[in-house]
Symmetry: C2
Subunit: 195 residues, 2 copies
């Protein structure tokens, strides 16, 4: 049985499906210097057989080194049509080419196959965040002579194992917090709180 917040989230996704960016969420992590980082990522569905959220990232991006030092993350998701906010907290796992768990190896390969060509190209670009040099210009176009059938080493699946969901509904001014029940895997406590 899936988590009780999951059906709500899927309903919100449906209600806001007309907005292409309804799957864009903001993912916060903590930098090694103790300051927060926050960036937009695309929600890529739930990991098969789990309630874990998935995203993709480049191994060379800061969120990978941040997650290695501190796996805690919080996704903030605002749905404009339904005027709902989901704050989804949890711990990140970075699934790269060295993954050993069979399910995760398969999930990473399937994710690579599922993404658009444009999304794939970026993984062949120069190092994200490094100065852009004029001689790189041709590197940003469609990469030639690159094998697109297999995920490159820098392609990572990012898995968020959720341990709290805080749902705010602005139309009704209600707020609900979901937390896992201690010692009851798959069971969640649901609490109405003041917005």
């Amino acid at each position: 049985m899936s988590a009780p917040w999951r059906a709500r989230l899927q309903q919100s996704l449906q209600q806001n499906a007309s907005l292409a960016y309804s799957k864009y969420v903001q993912l916060a992590t903590v930098r090694p210097n103790g300051r927060p980082a926050n960036r937009t990522v695309v929600f890529r569905g739930f990991l098969e057989g789990t309630d874990h959220l998935t995203f993709i990232t480049d191994k060379r991006s800061n969120k990978v080194s941040e997650a290695a030092a501190n796996p805690a993350a919080e996704v903030c998701w605002y749905f404009p049509t339904s005027r709902e906010q989901y704050r989804v907290s949890g711990l990140l796992t970075v699934v790269d080419s060295s993954a050993s768990e069979p399910d995760l190896i398969v999930a990473r390969a399937e994710m690579w196959n599922s993404i658009s060509a444009a999304a794939k190209y970026q993984f062949f670009w120069p190092h994200p965040g490094f100065p852009r040099l004029p001689e790189y210009d041709e590197a940003y176009v469609v990469p030639q002579d690159k094998p697109m059938d297999q995920a490159p080493e820098c392609f990572c699946l990012l898995v968020l194992k959720v341990d709290e969901v805080d749902l705010l509904e602005l139309f009704t001014n209600s707020r609900t917090v979901f937390t896992p029940q201690q010692g009851q895997p798959g069971q969640w406590d649901v609490l109405d709180v003041t917005p």
Copy 2:
């Protein structure tokens, strides 16, 4: 002279003005337990005479205690129409009823006067995040017998003093990082980097 990223941001706000939620941004802070927090807040303009971003918050909310322990914050702003993302990092100052700096006292009072009645009401509600009890129900409606002309004690102006802006433009796949020049107040370095 205002910061070079400010004109860009104001242009983006204009380009996306048809979306009521173009002023909704995600604000990340770090919780005292070292985990990130991330929530949607409404951008309330620049602090008079500065390039600092302003927001409002309730003194009883977690972001106030988080900012007290660690003032570092990062705002992530996604503009759907122009397909731009601004990541705005800086340090937070919470301006509450005990503020002593004249400019900030005035800014807080003016902010209170500028917000909608509905926004004001929330500051008279029970403690945010605490369990919602049936006997509170009438507390969520329009509060009666409350003086609305003066900011209540829990009303805070939140000021973000910016020390980095990272602008990603998805239409052109370009990314620009703005950082303050050392020893040159008001001067910013601008660097093109790989997205």
